[in-house]
């Protein structure tokens, strides 16, 4: 019993020490640092494409690296591959389980993945004459909330079983399991240099992980509810998170703390998804209240809104060339804006 008490005291002391170390470098805040920056222009984007095809709620979308194709996942039990320029559907992948929560496009464009309440990540080859399932990654003991390809041979997953995992697509086995969250993992984002990733979970924490050694490097506190969305800032030194507490936050990795909170007294819906413009200046955040709000990431001000969906915005994505933003919704439509 004595040892438990000692450990608890040490844990508390370490938490206090971390808090103090963060305060010690907190010589200013982002709003002050950005006070001299000209405000971002009022952003008014128009719907350029209204993609109709899904028959039920859309839960996820992901752009291909070719800036043109994208994959979307709906609980109608399908993945749809779209040519965003023409608005045409290029492929439809029927899913074994319709309870899909995530989808991903491999950087090569050869593969897509999906997963959800089946606890599995299923990988499909788009380039065979008929689309084939190449692997079912089956080891998580909870739902699959997010998947991302590192390459055609490695996939990262986040799960409701509180773990994230790195999988070898050739063997179908987990190479590394990332253990530290105490709540369902809801989202992940790969660093630009692919050496690390960040995860957000229902324990209201965001964590930075080393992909190769599995070590949790840093933990970011501040949110007061589930973190549903997370993204690396271009450049790789900061992350943006979106939460059920109705706020988004920017955390800097090297200062190891929150720099700014994006919030508005009038906003009392949770954040479901987020995406950043190419320079990082604009944050597109999807909310439960059917809107996607646009934030100036440096000044913390709302600079625009994308209205048009008739239900919750569940997913957002900006392609690598930054030419547009896509929003997907429970209203079964995807919209492309610029």
């Amino acid at each position: 019993m004595g040892e438990m008490e000692q450990m608890k005291k040490e844990a508390e002391a370490l938490k206090t020490q971390i808090e103090a170390a963060r305060k010690a470098v907190h010589d200013t805040d982002m709003a002050s640092a950005a006070s001299g920056v000209a405000p971002a222009p009022r952003v008014q984007l128009k719907t350029r494409r209204n993609l109709k095809g899904h028959l039920a709620k859309i839960y996820a979308m992901h752009w291909s690296t070719d800036n043109r194709l994208m994959v979307s996942a709906s609980q109608d039990g399908k993945l749809l591959i779209w040519d965003s320029h023409s608005g045409n559907k290029v492929n439809a992948v029927p899913l074994k389980s319709s309870w899909v929560m995530t989808c991903a496009y491999a950087p090569s464009g050869n593969l897509v993945a999906s997963g959800g309440l089946d606890n599995m990540c299923t990988v499909y080859n788009l380039k065979t004459p008929v689309i084939k399932t190449v692997k079912e990654l089956d080891a998580h003991t909870g739902y699959l909330s997010c998947a991302r390809f590192l390459s055609d041979t490695e996939v990262l997953t986040a799960s409701g079983d509180t773990t994230c995992a790195l999988w070898d697509l050739e063997t179908g086995k987990q190479k590394t399991v990332f253990l530290n969250h105490v709540g369902d993992c809801m989202c992940l984002s790969l660093s630009p240099d692919m050496n690390s990733f960040v995860s957000g979970a229902c324990d209201s924490l965001a964590k930075l992980w080393d992909i190769r050694d599995g070590q949790c490097k840093q933990t970011f506190l501040g949110h007061t509810s589930d973190i549903n969305a997370i993204s690396f800032y271009p450049g790789g030194n900061a992350i943006i998170t979106g939460s059920d507490d109705c706020t988004c936050k920017m955390y800097d990795l090297r200062a190891d703390q929150e720099l700014i909170t994006y919030q508005d007294a009038a906003l009392n819906s949770g954040v479901t998804s987020l995406a950043l413009s190419m320079s990082g200046r604009l944050i597109f955040a999807g909310y439960d209240d059917f809107n996607c709000n646009i934030w100036d990431s440096l000044k913390g001000e709302k600079v625009g809104v994308l209205s048009g969906h008739d239900n919750r915005v569940s997913c957002t994505g900006v392609p690598p060339d930054g030419m547009c933003v896509c929003t997907g919704s429970w209203d079964s439509f995807l919209k492309i804006w610029n």
């Binding site: 608890k8 170390a21 640092a33 320029h85 271009p234 190891d256 030419m323 610029n338």
Partner: protein, 70 residues
């Protein structure tokens, strides 16, 4: 979290180990971090189509010539 089982102790040991690791990292000043983020943003602003706007001639999503059905 306050149980006396061996599982509780192991879990606590892991937490302490993780906290020790995180306490030991090097942190830079917020002023430096914020300045570098600001610089990155501003340097890349001119290349950011959503920030600068996209001229119709260069916009692959420009309104189609035919009628669009919603």
């Amino acid at each position: 979290m306050s149980n006396n089982s061996a599982g509780g102790l192991v879990s606590l040991q892991k937490s302490v180990k993780q906290l020790r690791f995180e306490a030991g990292i090097r942190r830079i000043k917020v002023s430096q971090a914020a300045a570098e983020l600001k610089a990155f943003c501003l340097q890349n602003a001119h290349k950011d189509p959503l920030l600068m706007g996209v001229p119709s001639s260069d916009n692959p999503f420009r309104p189609p010539k035919s009628c669009a059905l919603f």
